[in-house]
Structure formats: C-alpha cells, structure tokens
C-alpha cells in the first residue's frame, strides 16, 4: 500500500461527518419546489437571445409567452409547467459523510414526497408501467444517480423531467463507420421527427460513446449544463454548433408551428467506446430546463 495512510478505528469514527436525516429531507423538499417555480437565469437569457433573432411573428409570440410565464411562476410560486416531472437526482456523496437516521435513498424519497405535497406540484408517477397504472400519490419513487466521491460533503442536483420531451427521446447504436455525419443525421432526425410534441424550442442532450445505458445517462447529464455553454473540447463544441444550425434551419419552430427557434442549444457529453460501437442517445428537454441543487 506504499505511503497510503489508512484511518482506523477511532480515527475513522472521528473523521466521519454526521448529517441529520431531516436536514436532507427538508433541503430536498425545498429543491423540488424551487426547481418547479424558478426557470434558471441561463434559460431566460437564452430565450431572450432567440427572441431577438427569430423571424416568425407567431414564434416570437410563443417566446414572449415563455418569458411572461416564467415571471408569473417565480413571482407567484407556481409551477412553470403543470408537468412537474419525474424527480431525477444526481448525487455526489462524500466517502466521509454519514446521514444519521436513514439512507440517502430514503432521505431523498421522503424529501420528494414532502416537496411535491407542500409545493402543490403535480403527482405524475404510476405504480406499474403496464398492469397497474395507479398514481403513487406523492410523486415517488424518484430516480437517484449516486456517485461516491472523496470528502465529507453531499452535493445534490435535481432535474425534474417532464413526460412530453422525455417521450420524444431516442437511442441508436450506430456503427463506427457512421461517424460524425451519422451522429448529426440521427440527432436532427430525432428533433425534427418529434415536431411540436416535446414543446420546442428544446435543449438537445446528446450522449455519445460508452455502452447502451451509459450513452443515455450522458445525454441526460448534459442537460444540467448551463444552456448554450459549449463543450470544453473544440471539436465537440464545433459539432454542437453544427447540429444546432441544422436543427434550426428545419423550420419546426416553437411549438412545432414554424420558425427559426427549434432548439435553444445542443449539449454533447462523451465517453470512451468499445471498438465495435458508436452509441448515440438523444434526450430532449423542453425550454423548462429546470434544475435546483444544494450542498451540505
């Protein structure tokens, strides 16, 4: 083990930070409400940018309605969209932190139920996908992506996901020979094929590489990025730009009723890949790219 220092016994006990269960529950509940009511500033700014460049009057009216809607929602503490979504959490849990009184999964589940109840948010989850589509009544269970990290902090990001745009998302296992052009064609096909259903303008999350499920996860994770912030590698930033231009010349437009603003941004996340594979996942998000988070 070389120089690696290992805390043992009492040292380890002393080093672990303790967080009360109720604190996590309350933070999660507040997060559910804030995410539903407050459209992030980066989205508002991006919509304003497109309002300036949009040439269709009908499309401009939709974009104006989104800005007015966001203003009402934040002021009156009411949801931006009635579909307050599946509660999807991205959690980074320090190795040296422990929740006293229950697991992180239980705390987030209880916090979700509390937030959706107290915030008058819609409960949109059914118990069984096929045989018993009975509403669970409290919007649980949430989806929790947990990652163990060094340190003693808990970092939580919630991205509630509506059904309309989620339903229009797709994954395809391309061949390596399909390359960049294959990726562009597939993403554009998904977005234009979706028409007005995902409430365009959308944010287009693209996960490239990894395995089947990794690509889907990357596509979802890319939606957490500030809207329109380019990928940090120039080749991918260029690819995002190229796909966005193709999408926005399609004419689908806001609500699928025509215009230049079909997507607000394309975000790519990538991962190393099997020699035989080129998985590409496209996860669409409506303009309500809601997210909220906290760190304890």
């Amino acid at each position: 083990m070389g120089n690696l220092k290992i805390a043992k016994g009492r040292d380890l006990q002393d080093a672990i930070r303790h967080v009360p269960y109720e604190r996590v529950v309350n933070e999660v509940a507040a997060c559910c409400m804030n995410a539903a009511y407050d459209l992030p500033c980066d989205v508002v700014d991006r919509v304003k940018d497109f309002l300036n460049s949009e040439t269709s009057e009908r499309a401009r009216e939709f974009l104006r309605q989104y800005l007015e809607n966001a203003e009402i929602a934040t002021t009156e503490r009411m949801p931006i969209c009635q579909d307050t979504g599946f509660a999807v959490f991205f959690v980074e849990m320090g190795e040296m932190v422990k929740i006293d009184g229950g697991s992180i999964y239980a705390a987030i589940t209880d916090g979700t139920a509390k937030g959706y109840q107290e915030g008058y948010l819609r409960k949109s989850i059914v118990k069984d996908p096929v045989f018993n589509r009975e509403n669970t009544g409290d919007n649980t269970p949430p989806i929790i992506h947990l990652k163990l990290v060094p340190g003693n902090k808990i970092n939580v990001v919630l991205a509630p996901k509506g059904g309309g745009s989620e339903n229009m998302s797709q994954l395809r296992m391309l061949k390596p020979s399909d390359g960049k052009e294959g990726i562009i064609d597939f993403v554009v096909e998904v977005v234009t094929g979706a028409g007005g259903n995902p409430c365009p303008p959308t944010i287009v999350g693209v996960g490239i590489g990894g395995t089947f499920e990794k690509a889907a996860f990357l596509a979802k994770k890319s939606l957490l990025r500030d809207v329109g912030k380019p990928h940090n590698e120039p080749e991918y930033a260029e690819l995002e730009k190229e796909i966005l231009e193709r999408i926005n010349t399609s004419g689908v437009g806001p609500q699928g009723l025509g215009g230049d603003t079909t997507a607000l941004a394309v975000h790519i996340e990538k991962f190393p890949c099997h020699i035989a594979s080129l998985p590409v996942a496209v996860n669409l998000n409506c303009h309500a790219a809601r997210h909220a988070g906290f760190e304890i």
């Binding site: 009057e57 009908r58 939709f62 309605q65 989104y66 007015e68 809607n69 009402i72 929602a73 009156e76 009411m78 949801p79 931006i80 969209c81 009635q82 579909d83 307050t84 008058y120 948010l121 819609r122 409960k123 949109s124 589509r133 509403n135 009544g137 059904g163 309309g164 339903n167 028409g195 007005g196 259903n197 409430c199 004419g251 609500q255 699928g256 009723l257 025509g258 409506c286 303009h287 309500a288």
Partner: protein, 178 residues
Amino acid sequence: MSNPVKLITPLNESTVRKLKAGDQVLLTGTIYTGRDAAHKRLCELIDSGKKLPVDLNGQAIYFVGPCPAKPGQPIGSAGPTSSYRMDAYSPTVIAETGLRAMIGKGARSREVVDAMKKHGCVYFAATGGAAALIARCIKSCQVVCYDDLGPEAIHRLEVENMPLIVAVDTDGNDLYHR
C-alpha cells in the same frame, strides 16, 4: 396578424366549420379536461353502449392534467399535454359524442383529422409550457368524474379568453404539416 376570434362554448357545427387553420382564438365558457386514462374509460363505455358520465355534445376537451390548486386559487398551473397520445381515442369520441373542439399541443393522426372533417370538430393548440400563464384564464375547476385518476380526472373548467390557435381546421388544413 389579424384580431383574435372570440368564441363562447358550447360551440355549434357551423361556427366550428368557419374557423381556419392559423386563426387566433380567445375561448370563453365551460370546457372539460381529459387525458389518456380518462379517454380510455370513455371509449370503453362507448364500445359497450353505456351512457357517459359527461355530455360532450357541443363541448371542448382540453388535454391537460393540472397541478393542484393552492389555497384560494381555482387551479394550479395548467398547460396542454401532447395530443398524439389521445389519437387512439379521439376518432371514437368525436364520432359518438358531438364533441366540437379539442385543445392540446402537437400534431394529430390522419384518422383524427378525418373524423374532424367528417363530424365537424376543430383542433386548437394552446402553448405547451406556458402553464402558469394559461392558469390565469381559468376561473373555476371542479372534478366531474374519475377522481381516482388524480390529475387525470375529468374536470369542468370555466375559462375566460383562453388564447388558442386553430392548428387543424374542419377542412383538414394543418399547421403541423405545412
């Protein structure tokens, strides 16, 4: 763009047939909500020849599952859901009930548009994602039936000047397939 057409429910066939795709409309009066689960139940009743729990003759259905109302408010946020999920049911509902209008978002199937043309029913688009703004037009909300479906229950809404666009008219002109 031209001035919006003001419409008051219930709607008759001749009024609906005059509307043209692209017209802006302000809708006032009673409308009913319904999503997938409620449509499924309505169609099961129609198929078995039973009476429906709501009379849709001359009425409009809004495809919406609203948020719960906060105290003192008639309703929570209430924007449209994607209409294509009702495509399996709408032709039956249109043919069998005298429904005159549907309100939702996104394109409809050929079968739905054919039924609209034949029986005189119009499809309005509301702005998906503008749910807090739309809620301001809704003055009251009561559950009519299927309370067990939660947000998917059929509600009776009173709306005032609800802003809509004629997305598909009774001649089959369709803004989604330009």
